[in-house]
């Protein structure tokens, strides 16, 4: 068995494709990808922050103080354009002459004098998710509105000190019992299994195809079957090889993510990252790895069984797409808000591991649940390995 294991590993190490999937992907490609993604997102945010919006106020003469505030606002630039109503403003926005138009009713001052409510209209393109036009104008308008409110209350003879009590008789203050770790874990914890579990799979896919269908395609399977090694050992040797690459892939990912998080955290001095990595102790990390082992066993044995069945590399690859789906659905299921580890979900393979990893990161995991998951997953793994061994003994599978 170890002869098979050693030889398969040697062969994989000499293969550039495996090295790429198992080592380069988690160590180099993913950090770069995440880095670039973060950089682009941060940049987009900064440029949006810096953006100056061109505006037109229709009926500015009604609100001279407000118009002046807007004129001196660093994010707004007045454009001289004869927009008079929604239609002309819309046209101007479409033609990229202005970004936003504010339409003040022509009887605004009249409404104010009569203590009436006045509705202003803001015309802009709201399809751009990142734009801040609405928020900025709203802040200004609320501010303006508050000033008028204060004026009106004062005119009614309400002392300034009682204004708040009159406007909002009851307020609600939030006292959060969740510590920072739990908050962060809820947000980050869902993401980590989303990266870790598929990587376990990716680490296993290529070697599995190579070790099963690859042997058939190269014509080495028959000679291997004719060696005086029981087929059980052949399967176990191959299985262990695939398991090694799957776990290695996951381990390297955890390691490299930890390293990059600490590195970037210390360079950019991002406190939450520092704290998040700090609170996830060694015990938690080893618990995560402990859960990944039976999961990787399931992936490895499942992929090996499929790969043994396939006649060629190509056929094996065709079977991998549905497998990916089967793996992804429970992970996505675990990401759904409200999904928690309980007596039902603990028995759903893959989803249970994803949920448990999240709980571990949050620091709220029930250790007996982890035990149950470990036993459940190990049992499934053993069953699939047994099936692979049985499968490898069947002539109609080997000589299709």
């Amino acid at each position: 068995m170890w002869q098979v294991y050693r030889k398969e590993l040697l062969e994989l190490v000499r293969d550039k494709k495996t090295l790429f999937f198992v080592i380069a992907l988690p160590l180099v490609v993913f950090p770069i990808l995440f880095g670039v993604m973060g950089f682009v997102m941060a940049n987009a945010q900064i440029s949006e922050e810096k953006k100056v919006h061109r505006y037109v106020i229709v009926g500015a003469e009604q609100v001279p103080t407000f118009a002046e505030q807007l004129f001196y606002h660093k994010s707004f630039k007045k454009v001289d354009l004869a927009a008079t109503d929604i239609d002309t403003a819309t046209k101007a926005i479409r033609n990229d002459l202005i970004d936003v138009a504010l339409i003040i009713p022509s009887d605004h001052q009249q409404q104010m004098a009569n203590n009436q409510q006045s509705q202003w209209q803001i015309v802009f393109n709201d399809a751009v998710l990142t734009n801040r036009i609405y928020g900025r104008i709203r802040d200004l308008v609320v501010n303006h509105s508050d000033q008028i409110l204060t004026e009106r209350l004062s005119n009614l003879g309400v002392p300034l000190a009682q204004h708040n009590a009159l406007i909002k008789p009851v307020t609600l203050a939030k006292v959060d019992t969740a510590d920072q770790r739990e908050n962060l874990g809820e947000k980050l914890g869902g993401l980590i299994p989303y990266i870790l579990i598929p990587l376990c799979l990716v680490g296993a896919v290529y070697p599995a195809i190579d070790l099963g269908a690859g042997e058939k395609e190269r014509g080495t399977l028959e000679t291997l079957l004719l060696t005086p090694i029981p087929r059980t050992y052949l399967v176990l040797g191959k299985f262990l090889t695939i398991l090694t690459t799957a776990l290695l892939s996951a381990l390297l990912t955890v390691g490299s993510m930890g390293f990059w998080a600490l590195f970037m955290g210390s360079i950019m001095d991002i406190k939450p990252v520092h704290e998040a990595v700090g609170v996830i102790g060694l015990l938690d990390l080893s618990l995560i790895l402990l859960l990944l082992i039976p999961l990787a066993c399931i992936f490895s044995s499942m992929l090996l069984a499929i790969s043994i069945y396939a006649r060629s590399f190509k056929e094996a690859q065709n079977y991998m797409a549905p497998i990916n789906m089967v793996v992804f659905i429970p992970i996505v299921g675990a990401l759904v808000p409200g999904m928690v580890l309980n007596w039902g979900t603990v028995f759903i393979p893959i989803m249970n591991v994803a949920l448990a990893i999240k709980e571990i990161i949050k620091g709220t995991v029930d250790y007996s649940m982890v035990g149950i998951i470990f036993v459940t997953m190990t049992t499934i793994a053993v069953v699939i390995i047994a099936f692979s061994i049985h499968w490898f003994g069947k002539e109609e599978v080997l000589f299709r």
Binding site: E11, T220, P230
Partner: protein, 276 residues
């Protein structure tokens, strides 16, 4: 010495499997099974070279796979120097060297590592294995490319390495399934020389082929298989005599076209009572 008697093997046909007209008309297809081999018997003595002939799909590969223990026969007996291949496959495998035309090598291992791997799987100890490999590599002229990866070798070099791999464990018999198919003249000659060498050592060789010139050059004995049964077994001379043919081509065709009339020289005599 190897004895094969009344070997039979059928394969289950998948229901979804679409059959071509030729397959449907094959008499070996009935009750949901394809009876690939129905009755094959022959013997091969020490130092003999036995050529297995037959049209495509006659059951040659299935027979040789059963012989080499890759497939388990449904019935019949295979014995190699007294060891029952069917009952003790692990023991029998140590006695068999197998090579086919489609046998490959592990591309990312060197020629030497390929041979070493199989030597180790056959349970050879390192010292024994090393000296055996040196001896084989010397004999076959592999030393010059022993440290190159198999994927970078020429077809001839690959075939030499495959031969070394097949016999690294000193097998008592050697089974070759169309070993020269797809090879060029030089590589074919390597295989032929190898068979001659085995014969000189007294190792029985059983090989299937479509090249009748190889048969007349190498074989002490010819077995013709058609539609899953052995319909002739004897020497090349006996085959010519039996069919009154001028050459092997004619003799071969006459045996195939005359079936299933009894072939008197078949030893041991094949059963003719099946599928009548």
């Amino acid at each position: 010495m190897i004895t094969v008697s009344n070997l039979a093997k059928r394969f289950k046909m998948a229901k979804s499997h679409k059959l071509s007209d030729a397959e449907k008309s094959d008499t070996r297809l009935h009750d949901g099974y394809f009876h690939s081999v129905t009755d094959v018997s022959f013997e091969c003595e020490a130092g003999q070279v036995l050529g297995l002939l037959g049209p495509n799909g006659a059951g040659k590969t299935t027979t040789l796979r059963m012989l080499s223990s890759a497939l388990k026969p449904d019935s019949g007996l295979i014995a190699i120097n007294g060891v029952d291949v069917v009952k003790k496959p692990l023991l029998a495998r140590k006695k068999i060297g197998f090579l086919s035309g489609s046998t490959g090598l592990y591309g990312r291992l060197t020629a030497r590592e390929n041979v070493e791997y199989f030597g180790k799987l056959h349970g050879m100890n390192p010292a024994q294995l090393s000296s055996r490999i040196d001896e084989l590599f010397e004999l076959l002229g592999i030393h010059e490319f022993a440290t190159r990866r198999a994927e970078n070798l020429s077809t001839g070099m690959k075939q030499k390495t495959s031969i070394a791999r097949a016999v690294v464990h000193n097998p008592e018999i050697v089974v070759l399934d169309e070993p020269t198919t797809g090879l060029d003249i030089m590589a074919t000659q390597t295989v032929m020389d190898f068979i001659i060498r085995l014969k000189a050592q007294g190792t029985p060789v059983i090989f299937s082929t479509h090249h009748l010139d190889e048969v007349s050059l190498l074989c002490d004995k010819v077995v013709i298989i058609d539609e899953g049964r052995s319909c002739f077994a004897g020497s090349v001379e006996e085959l010519l005599q039996h069919t009154n043919a001028q050459n092997l081509n004619q003799a071969f065709i006459s045996v195939i076209t005359q079936k299933p009339s009894a072939a008197p020289l078949v030893t041991p005599i094949a059963n003719q009572n099946e599928e009548a």
